[in-house]
Amino acid sequence: MYNDENLELFCELKTRILIVRNVMIGIACSYILVATILAFLPKAYHIYRFIAVPIGIVLVGGLAAIKTLPLDNRNLKAIKKKAQGEAAHLAVSIMYLDYIHRKYMRVVIYVILSTVVIGLGLFWINPNSSVYFLSVVPVCYCLILLARKSFISQRIMNGVFGTNAREAKELIQFIRMHCDIFDFKDGDGNPRRVFLPENLLEASEKFPRIREVAT
C-alpha cells in the first residue's frame, strides 16, 4: 500500500541495499586490482599486499558508496513523485467511477420505473397490440449502460483506465468540468491520501493494483 511512511522506509531500505552492493563490488574490484598489480611485481614486494588490500577496499568501496548516495536520493524523489502521481491518477479515476455510478444508477432507476409504467399503460390501452414490447428497448439500453460502467470499473481496478486517447480525453474532460471537487492537499500542504469508498475496498482485495497504489 502506498503511503509516505511505507515509501520512505522502502526507499531507505533500497538505498542501504545499494550501498552494501556497491561496497561489495568495490571490495571485489580492489582485490582483483591489487592481485593483478602484485602478479607483475617481484615476490619481495608481495608483503605489501597486506597493506595494499585494505587501502584498496577503503578507497574503492568508499568511492562507490559516496557515488551511490546522491543517485539514491534522486531515485527516492523520483519514486516518491511517481507513486504520488499514480495515486492522484487512481484517485481521479475512482472519483470518475463514483460519479458515473451515481449518474447511471439515477438514469437506470428513472428509465426502468418509467418503462414499467408506460408498458403497463400500452398494455392497458390495447392488450392485443405488440406495441408494449417496445418497453424492452430501454431496458436493454440500461443493461448496456451498466455493462459500460462495469467495464470502466474493471479497467480502473487494474489501473489501465485513461491509457488511450479516448479515455484520456474523457478523464481530462471530467477533471476540467469538475475541478471544484478536487483537493489533493491536506491542511498542512502535503498530498492528501486517497481513501477508497467501502464497496471499492472490497474490490481492492481482488485487484492488486489498487492495493499496491492506493490507501
Partner: protein
C-alpha cells in the same frame, strides 16, 4: 489484466460508446422519450386519426425511438456550437502527437498517464491560485 484482456475490454468499451452515441445517459433518456412519444400517439390515437393535415398514427412505433434520441441530443449539439469546448487545442494537439508518433503501446500508456497527471496538477494550481486570490482580497477588506 493481461495485454490481451486490456485490448478486448478497450474494444468492447469502444463498441458500447458507438452504440450509445458517446453520451450514454442522454441516449438512454432519448430511448425513453421515444417510448413516451409512442405511448402518447397510442393514447391519443382516436384524436390524432381525425387530423387530416398529417397522418402521425401510421408512423411506425419504432420510428419514435430515433426521434427521441435526436431530441435529447439537440441541446448538446447547440451547447457545443455556442460554448467553448472543454478540451483545449493544446490537449488535442498532444493527444494527436501521441497517436501519430512512432511509440509503442506501453510508451503511449505512460504518456497518457503523464498527460492526466499534468492536468490534475494544473487544476490543483488553479485552486491554489483562487485560494491565494481570496486570501488577498480578504486581507484587503480587513485593512479597509
Amino acid at each position: 489484466m493481461t495485454n490481451f484482456e486490456e485490448r478486448i475490454s478497450r474494444l468492447i468499451l469502444r463498441l458500447i460508446d458507438v452504440l450509445l452515441l458517446r453520451n450514454p445517459e442522454r441516449t438512454v433518456m432519448g430511448v425513453l422519450l421515444g417510448i413516451v412519444f409512442a405511448f402518447l400517439t397510442t393514447l391519443f390515437h382516436p384524436v390524432l386519426i381525425k387530423v387530416e393535415l398529417f397522418d402521425i398514427t401510421s408512423a411506425p412505433k419504432w420510428g419514435w425511438i430515433p426521434l427521441g434520441i435526436l431530441v435529447v441530443h439537440l441541446p448538446m449539439v447547440v451547447w457545443n456550437i455556442v460554448h467553448k469546448p472543454t478540451m483545449n487545442d493544446e490537449v488535442d494537439e498532444i493527444i494527436r502527437l501521441i497517436e501519430k508518433g512512432n511509440f509503442t503501446d506501453s510508451e503511449k500508456r505512460q504518456m497518457y498517464r503523464n498527460l492526466i497527471q499534468q492536468c490534475i496538477s494544473s487544476v490543483d494550481l488553479k485552486r491554489n491560485f483562487t485560494e491565494t486570490m481570496q486570501s488577498v482580497q480578504q486581507s484587503l477588506r480587513d485593512t479597509e
